[in-house]
């Protein structure tokens, strides 16, 4: 599946009210490590079934970033049934993220 774009407007509907696991990558265009995180997120979206993967641009969506206490990017949060279950702060390897998704 392709990577979805979440924002302040659709976050409630598409993440919090959804069942199952959703991986959200909080990033910004000016952040070097976020650029290196991005292809890993794309691969996870492509390879792992039964999971929704999306991104939040923290520059454009400060409300969600602040609600989930994002103070360093990239940060990845895995939501399950609308609740944050796991947070990865900083550039994280694919295998580390995958082990949380299985």
């Amino acid at each position: 599946m392709s990577v979805k774009i979440f924002n302040d407007n659709n976050f409630n509907n598409e993440v919090l009210n959804e069942k199952g696991k959703i991986l959200v990558d909080f990033y910004a265009d000016w952040c070097g490590p976020c650029k290196m995180m991005s292809p890993i997120i794309d691969e996870i979206a492509e390879e792992i079934e039964n999971i929704t993967v999306g991104k939040v641009n923290v520059d454009e969506n400060p409300e969600i970033a602040s609600k989930y206490g994002i103070m360093s990017i990239p940060t990845i949060i895995i939501f399950e049934n609308g609740m944050p279950q796991k947070k990865f702060i900083g550039l994280t390897s694919k295998s580390e993220i995958e082990s949380e998704l299985k």
């Binding site: 290196m36 990017i73 940060t75």
Partner: protein
């Protein structure tokens, strides 16, 4: 524009420079401060020296060898590196330098000071990257831990965003600066969900919203964090060609961990240099 810029002039960095220069590339080595090798009194386990050799002598010989081959060597402090897409910009104390490839041979330095609460609040108010995380501290009160030029440079970057900056030297001598400084030893960093307070050993407390750590000089760990180079613990991950996860960036020597020996640094430096040569030949064909 350089073909190869190498940060560090120890056995890994110099060895990389020799191989890159012999392939006729435009090579620069930037170094500053003390190398581990320079501080080693006597080396008894390196090939070819029947009575051993003084660490400082071997270190200086390496730099002279590179100079004799025509490698450009500059003494300067690197503050940061930016990925421009297919080239890199290195910001030093004196200038900005653009290069097609970068070899990190800085050795390994612990970027995390030994202060209670540091690890607990990483990503929760404690950051190692002003450029990445400064944005989250708009109009807030922050502290920068460090006392060198690197700390002052990070403070300067942050001064455009945050409200107040205090430089905390954690017991070291305070630098001359327009920023507020505090040279007391830090006892603990406290908070709840995020950082709130710094307590000093004399019992004084100050409130902060965030802390940026920039102790000593910027090294491999700092460059990895700001560029997004994959690490395992404090070491940079490389494959057998010394390639990192960023195309055009290589790491070698103590920065990659493993056996912390000259022979390993020399081998990895050679490999990194040769890999950069390969990369440049394709780069020049494609661009």
């Amino acid at each position: 524009m350089y073909d190869v810029v190498i940060i560090g002039a120890g056995p890994a960095g110099i060895s990389a420079s020799l191989y890159a220069k012999r392939a006729n590339l435009n090579v620069l080595v930037i170094y500053n401060g003390k190398s581990n090798l320079e501080m080693t009194e006597k080396i008894d386990n390196y090939y070819g020296f029947k009575d051993g050799i003084d660490g400082k002598e071997l270190y200086i010989n390496g730099i002279e060898q590179a100079k004799n081959l025509g490698v450009e060597i500059k003494k300067d402090e690197v503050f940061g590196i930016q990925n421009l897409g297919n080239t890199f910009e290195i910001r030093t104390e004196k200038e900005k330098i653009e290069t097609k490839t970068l070899i990190i041979a800085t050795g390994n330095k612990n970027i995390r000071p030994n202060i209670k609460g540091i690890a607990e609040f990483e990503g929760k108010g404690i950051s190692y990257c002003a450029i990445c995380d400064g944005f989250f501290f708009k109009n807030k009160d922050i502290a920068v831990i460090g006392n060198g030029k690197y700390a002052l440079n990070e403070a300067k970057e942050l001064s455009h965003i945050v409200k107040n900056i205090t430089i905390l030297t954690n017991g070291l001598k305070a630098p001359l600066t327009e920023f507020k400084t505090n040279d007391k030893k830090i006892k603990e960093i406290k908070g709840e969900q995020t950082v709130r307070e710094i307590e000093f050993e004399d019992g004084e407390k100050i409130e902060v919203d965030g802390i940026f750590v920039a102790i000593g000089q910027a090294g491999a760990g700092n460059f990895a964090k700001t560029l997004g180079i994959m690490q395992s613990g404090d070491y940079i991950n490389v494959n057998d060609k010394m390639e990192t996860n960023i195309k055009g960036i290589y790491a070698c020597g103590n920065a990659t961990g493993g056996l912390l020996q000259i022979c390993k640094a020399v081998f990895e430096g050679a490999m990194a240099g040769l890999s950069a040569v390969d990369y440049i030949r394709n780069f020049d064909k494609e661009n």
